[in-house]
Symmetry: C2
DNA sequence: TTAAAAAAATGAAACGTTTTGCTTTTAGCG
DNA sequence: CGCTAAAAGCAAAACGTTTCATTTTTTTAA
């Protein structure tokens, strides 16, 4: 049915090898190049990825394993990555493991069954066991947003300077005179939570202010979690003059709760949120937020993966991107 | 390196053809089946999808073309579809065309280059031109959420009864005595907008109430759009006692705006929102919403596609799912 | 017990590329 | 013009499956 390289060969009178060379960017005579191009157009030829994959052991496909698809932080990054990889002819298979280690493990195996050329992973499993099959096969592996201690030096990472971002946000509040600063972080065992909490601690230390457990709330990075935890803080730490919420969903939840309680921002409570998405453009007063460079994360991830895929060896790299604080009007000077 | 069917043949003393038969579920002698299974385990054999794809002209891959990846309605559906398709051994390649017809067209071609066995599409281009190459090749095509007039009878669809849902929501407000009901729909040229607006109109007609342009606002299905448009309605239609917002993002935007203005729900304004996501679980008072069966959409889409992929011909089917109203406390009796 | 029918296994030929080692053609130079 | 080196083109052999037409084995029936 569909035209093959053989048809092109017949049409042009050249050999298979020459056509193949053309398809892979080899050098050939001008008139042959033209003839081939004409034949390709005439016969509407497209390479058969399967024949090629079989021969070359490359699928031109990258697998992406994420904990959750319904998460704007993640989809925003994937969107960018996908576009870039696609421009280079790679397709992307996304596996949503639903924050489940077993599924994550299965996803890696599934992708290897699909013969992906590389894997990009925002890991759930903390010990990196799930990536073993890929590493054994020397597939390029790239970690997103969270490093994996046991894999240090073995795989590349694209990270955010979580600690620095949280420190800067907390400092900002301290500079403006706040002393009772609440923070809502994610689950205790998640890397980004730990780092953000650490940044908060460090900033307080710099100012010689004791860290009070009552001002630390552990959410679960969901809207509901943010809603609950800000409630908890407001109830149990009445002196709190400012709160720092450390991801987008929880910021949304917190904002809704604060509005419901009729608490005025920033008059009664200063708020610093997270992630530069719709929310920050919409809420009034405009939210002051820690803005993660989502697009840049995607770009760097795609770049690093493409470098690996094109055979550049070199040792694994960790790229750490820094967030910026985007000033709004949700923080006031005390 | 990796074990092939040949290795299994050698290990078991059987022929290639027999192993292949086993792999594809053919009938064979019990002892041979056992021997093969043992060999597979021993040699850690996995089929080479590329060799198989080359021979069989099947890629066991489904392409999904969507207007936007950072949209909870969409990702929620994809999540389910992907899980089901993956269970059947299919992988999914997602193409985010960014609501751009040119990109959408390119995405279809890209996917065909990747030799997908079928395409699931939430279409942007209204005339379905972009799907022509796929239809010509007789690839199974499935439309999601929006039918395409010119393709009626040619492709299957999974739809929501948008008109019915909007009518039910509007009726609900009418039953409770509301007469000045605002509605925020999406862009004028989008199918779901039109249907939802139509449902609103019909409900008003049933009650003999004239449709007033001042109560109809066109948003763009974004948080910001919802925020703006509810503002517009509140400003230009001061008598409005209830509002119906017709997607998740705009509901979020509207809710934020209403809270900012200190308007009490449902005392000063009754509100019906859309889509049963985090938001409705979190907002207080709990929102009354039109709840689309996101999971069911995913299930039906996966099912229909799988049926097609397994060769069942039959004529294209349109599955229309109905939404339900989930009662909260955001609507009051007038 | 044997012939016929049914079931299972087989060998070999594809599928559409890439690649390797050679051969032919072209270009450059004295 | 003829020689050489470099460039371009070629034939054939893979890659790991599936599938078809046969052959072999097993089961059934007489």
């Amino acid at each position: 049915m569909a035209a093959t390289i053989k048809d092109i060969a017949r049409e042009t009178g050249l050999s298979l090898a020459t056509i193949s060379k053309y398809m892979n960017g080899g050098a050939l005579r001008e008139k042959n190049r033209i003839a081939i191009e004409r034949a390709i157009k005439k016969l509407d030829y497209h390479v058969n990825e399967y024949a090629r994959g079989l021969k070359s052991n490359k699928s031109r496909t990258v697998g992406v394993v994420i904990p959750e698809l319904s998460n704007l932080f993640i989809t925003q990054i994937i969107s960018v990555m996908e576009r870039i990889l696609q421009e280079k002819g790679y397709s992307v298979i996304i596996c949503d493991c639903q924050t489940d280690e077993t599924r994550e493990c299965r996803a890696v195996k599934f992708l290897m069954g699909k013969m992906v050329d590389g894997i990009i992973n925002m890991p759930v499993c903390r010990d990196g066991r799930h990536l073993k099959p890929a590493l054994e096969k020397e597939l390029p592996v790239l970690l997103l947003d969270r490093p994996l201690e046991p894999l240090t030096g073995l795989v590349s990472c694209v990270l955010i300077d979580n600690e620095g971002a949280a420190r800067a946000a907390t400092r900002r509040l301290l500079e403006l005179g706040h002393r009772d600063i609440g923070i809502i972080v994610g689950p205790k065992d998640i890397y980004t939570s730990q780092m953000r909490l650490e940044g908060y601690r460090r900033a307080l230390e710099e100012y010689g202010i004791p860290v009070r457990q009552a001002l630390i709330a552990y959410g679960d990075y969901t809207v509901q979690g943010g809603h609950q935890q800000i409630g908890r803080l407001l109830d149990t730490a009445p002196g709190m003059s400012a709160a720092f919420v450390t991801n987008y969903e929880m910021t949304l939840g917190a904002l809704i709760a604060v509005n419901e309680r009729g608490i005025a921002i920033p008059k009664e409570l200063s708020l610093i949120g997270f992630d530069n998405l719709d929310l920050s453009m919409v809420a009034r007063p405009r939210l002051t937020i820690v803005s993660q460079p989502l697009e840049e994360i995607g770009i760097q991830a795609a770049r690093l993966m493409l470098e690996r895929l094109s055979g550049e060896k070199g040792s694994p790299i960790t790229v750490t991107l820094s967030s910026s604080i985007q000033e709004g009007e949700s923080v006031r000077r005390l």
